[in-house]
Structures are given as C-alpha cells and as structure tokens.
Amino acid sequence: MTTTEATPDARELMYLLAVSEALAQLMRADESVFLAGEDVGAAGGVFGTFSGLFDEFGQRRVIDTPISEQAIVGLGVGAAVSGLRPVVDIMFMDFVLVAMDQIANQAAKLRYMFGGQAKVPLTITTSAGAGLSAAAQHSQSLEALLCHVPGLKVVYPATPYDMKGLLVSCVRDDNPTIVIMNKMLLGAVGPVPEELYETPLGEARIARSGSDITIVAVGRMVDEALTAAATLAGEGVECEVIDPRTLQPFDTETVVGSVRRTNHALVVHEAVRFGGIGAEIAAQIQEEAFDYLDAAVARIGAPFCPVPFSPALEQLYVPDAARIAEGVRGVLGMNPVVA
C-alpha cells in the first residue's frame, strides 16, 4: 500500500483530461509511444479522452484505424515486440470480447511462451461501465475476465489523479497492461499534478480510514463507497474504504491488513457479482484473515443479467451508496434502514 495521492492544493483536472494529458506528456518524452484506435485521431476519441493528441503529434503517432479490434491489438503486439511502446484503444470494454484472442492468447502469453525472450510493452485503454443507457453491449465491466489471464496487468483508476498516474505507469511498464476508464467518471474532477508522475502498479490506496469494516471498492464504486461511509459515520460506523487501483497484480497485503484490523469486509464492484473480481477478493480475504473475521465477507455486484437499457432498470442494476450502506449494516448485524 502506498499513500501516493495528490496534494490538496494541486491543480484540478477532469478524469478524461487526465488521459490526454498523460498521453501527451508520455509522447513528448518518449518517441516510441504512439496511439492507435478507432476515431482516436482528429475526433479525439468518442469520449474526448484523446483530444488534442492528433493536433500535436500528427498522423504518424496518432492513428485512426479501421474497425478491426483484433488487428488493433495485434498491431500493438507486433509493434511492442519490435521495440515500440504502443497505446491502443478499444472504444468500449464490451469490444474487448472481439479482441480476446490477441489480448489473452497473444499479448499476455508471448513472453512466457517464448521462454522470457519477448518484451510486450503494450497498453490497452478501454471504457467500461453502465449508466449511459447504452444497453447490454456497451455497458459491461469485464475486468474479471482479464484478471484471470496470467501475463496481463489490469488497472481501474477511480480518480483523476490515478487516471493519470496509473496510465503513466502502464505505458512505462514492459508488460501488456489494460487501463479501464469508467464512463461515469469521465467528468469527475480532482487534483492532478501537472508534471508526469506514476501511481505504482499493484498498490492499493486507502481512500478513507476506519476501524469497523473494510470496504474494497472497484472503479466507480469507490465514490459510492465513500458516500456510504459518510452516511454510516452518522450512524457511528467507521468504514475503511480501499481502492485497489490495480486489480492484477492485486494488493492482497493492504486489503488483508485492513481486514485484520476491522474484522469485517465487504467487496463491491459494478460487474456482475457471480464470478466477478469480488469473488477472488473475498476468497483471498477469508483465506488470509479467517481468524480475524467476525462475519462472512460480503459481496455486492450487479445481478446476474445483461445490462438493461431502460434507465428504470439500469439504475437498479448498478450498485450504489445506499446498497453499499445496507451491505455494511448486514455485515455488522445492524438493523436494516427502511427508507
């Protein structure tokens, strides 16, 4: 665990602008970094995450590709093995499924299969999560699939600070990395230093300290967990909120250390609960802190169904502060709050 965090007086920046700022600075510093993907050029990416890069670096280094997710990742793999440091974008995380062979069978395994000869410094950026009524094929959170594949590193920044810092670390890492941006966080604003800095991979962040329960919250759920923690503080419950930041490799130590102090744990993510990364986290916690637990590790995630289109249903689909607070009360054996 590290306490790496912005100083409060740092400049404020939007999550999505942290992306382009990180990339611009990395590209200025290192000629081997380039960006390729669909509509990443003059359009600046469909979410604006790449705006300004084409203007500054031109079409040699900012490449609009055909709609070909397999070849986009393959381009990255081949270029990475040949010494460049590619950043390739898969517009929506749902499309990762189109490119899974290149990601999981090629990028992830090349080095190992080659007996450690190859170096694959490839970064894949992608946008995950529900909340835009984009329905079942444009709203998924599929990090669990990627975290199960040895050879990949997976980060999920929850703040503008970590968006920049983790992206920098990923691009500089010599392994294939995946940077998951959350669509509902794109407009989030927070302190972001202007200089180039790294958020170390594999180090969780304690977003709030507390003594009664450990909430491990992934991506967009960090904010929801903090809101829940604030509510619960009013009820006399002090939650420790941990943002893993990197999901693979996972910072078990920080999480387990916390649970050993709080004796209670709740894991929350936006992805489907069954088989989500929360299952791994819960399994690890009970393995490493069994004797410290006063109750079972609880998990909150999306129900077992595709992401529905209608806002009326989508809203029920994504976990929120209220459900997290209810989950905490459940773990602690408190009476449920009737709204």
Binding site: D64, E69, D94, V98, S133, A134, A135, P308
Partner: protein, 325 residues
Amino acid sequence: MTTFDGIDLHRRMVRIRVFEETAGRLSESARLPGFLHLYVGEEAVASGVCAALNDDDQITSTHRGHGHLVAKGGDFKRMMAELMGKATGYCHGKGGSMHINDLDLGMLGANGIVGAGVPIAVGAAFANKYEDNGRVAVAFFGDGSTNIGAFHEAANMAGALRLPVLFVCENNEYGEYTRRCDTMAITDIIERAPGYGMRGVIVDGMDVVAVHEAATGALEGVRSGNGPALLECKTYRYFDHMGVKGVGVSYRSDTELEEWKQRDPIRSFEARLAESGELSADAARAVWDEAQAEVDGAIEFAEQSPLPEPEALLVGVYNETGAPS
C-alpha cells in the same frame, strides 16, 4: 426489369424519415435515453431491399437499425416505447435503440457490435436452406463494418456453404468520424465480393427503384441456390454518427452533405412519381401526414406506457422451456 410498387416504396421511405426525424427531435430535447443512430438519408436502402423480400424472409441489422425495422413493417408504438425504455416496447425496455427487433417480422435485431449481425444472418440462411423453406436472409451492414473479422468469416462461410443470404452494404463513406478511404485501400466495397466467390453489385443507394431492382435481381440468384451475393448501396447519412447535428462538423464538409441532399431519396422519388402521375403532391403529403400522425400516436402511447417494473430486471435472462424430452 422488375416491376415495383412506387406507392409502397414511397411509403416505406417516408415512414422511416418521419420516425427518425421525430426520434432525433425527441433525443435533442433529452426525451430519449441512450445512444441514437439515425437512418435519415439512407431510407432508399432499407426500403428498396425490404420491399423485395417476402414477409417471412429474415434480416439482421446494425447499430443504425430503426430504418430496417420500419422497412420490414415494424410497429411505431412498440418502437417508440422501446426507445423510451418503456415496458410496452419491443424489448420491454431492455434493449433500446441498439437492440430493437421483431422476430415475428423476421427482423433478427439491431446489433451494438459492428459486424456481429452478419454471421447471425448467415445462420438464419443456413436454417432456411436446411429446412428448404425457400426463405432468404439479408444482412445489412455499413462500409466500416466490412473491415471487421466477423464480416469476413460470415461472407466466406456463406460462399463456401452456398447459403441463401444477401449481403447489403450501406456505404455512407464514414464509420463514425473516420473516412472510409482512411480505413481501406479500395474504391468500392464490392471489390471484396470475389474473394468470397460471390457476385457484387453496386447501386445508387439514393434511388429507391434502383435499389429495389438490384435487390430483386440479386435475390433471384440467391433464392435459386446460386449462393450469396453482395449489394453495395452508395448512400449518405444526413445526421451525425450519433444524434442529429451533422452539419458544421470537422470530419466532413457541409458542402458534401448538401450535394448528397440534392439527391434526397424521397424528394427525388416524389418528383418521379408526380411526373408519372402515380402520386400527386397532395397524395404524397397525405403519406407524410399519416406517418406523422402515427408517430405522434406512438409518442403518446410510449409516454403513457409504464416503465418496466423492478421485477422485470431478472426476467428473460434464461428461457425456462426446453425441447420436449
């Protein structure tokens, strides 16, 4: 030369245009959730092709799917309710614009994944051949979608298995905000057809009669067991990739848009029908009015429809029935 029913073709196009422009307006006033890919400008393609189909032929569609469903006979009420995420919509509010479908009409769904509908159409065509039921399947897709692997695999498989499927490419020269010429080193999409052993035909996608005739001709071969064919329709979307705007954008010029609009598929066809005396200006107006009235009714229906109940969230993930054992 095939014959055509001008009144029918005209009506299909107008219904699409009116539905789409209305949907665009609703979305601009934030009355529709989610992403909206409108078909305005491309009406002649869906209309000309679908008019050449039998009711029980199947089609698969794209992210830009309303036009295909309207052309296949889709119900405005259930469409509009779906766009609003209401329980009375085609997908009971679970699919929205990108998954709109009507299996009873053989419309096997819009699709949020570029190219993914193409193999599904091939599967439907396989079923038709397997059951020897005389039906054909049509896959609609954009120019940009021909760059994705699923398109290639599906086209090749259809060729190899000689399946009764018509591939219809809506070549509007852009994929989102990227020009086609930047993503492929060919002039026409049909240059891909020979690679699958299939015939490719180019047609003016702004001319509904030409589309209809080309589709009818291609479908004849498809129906008679010659295997698949590729029909490339040169067309243009008036609006933006998503939503309405479409003018004053950086990736294409307003002049280009204006030039295409000069060849508006509906206006030009109305002129032709007026000239031939098949459809007077008044009668044409009545078609617009009727469509507008129907859309207005659909909006009312949709707005008065209930949202899905919370219990609906987990309904329909699995089918509880099975084959008789």
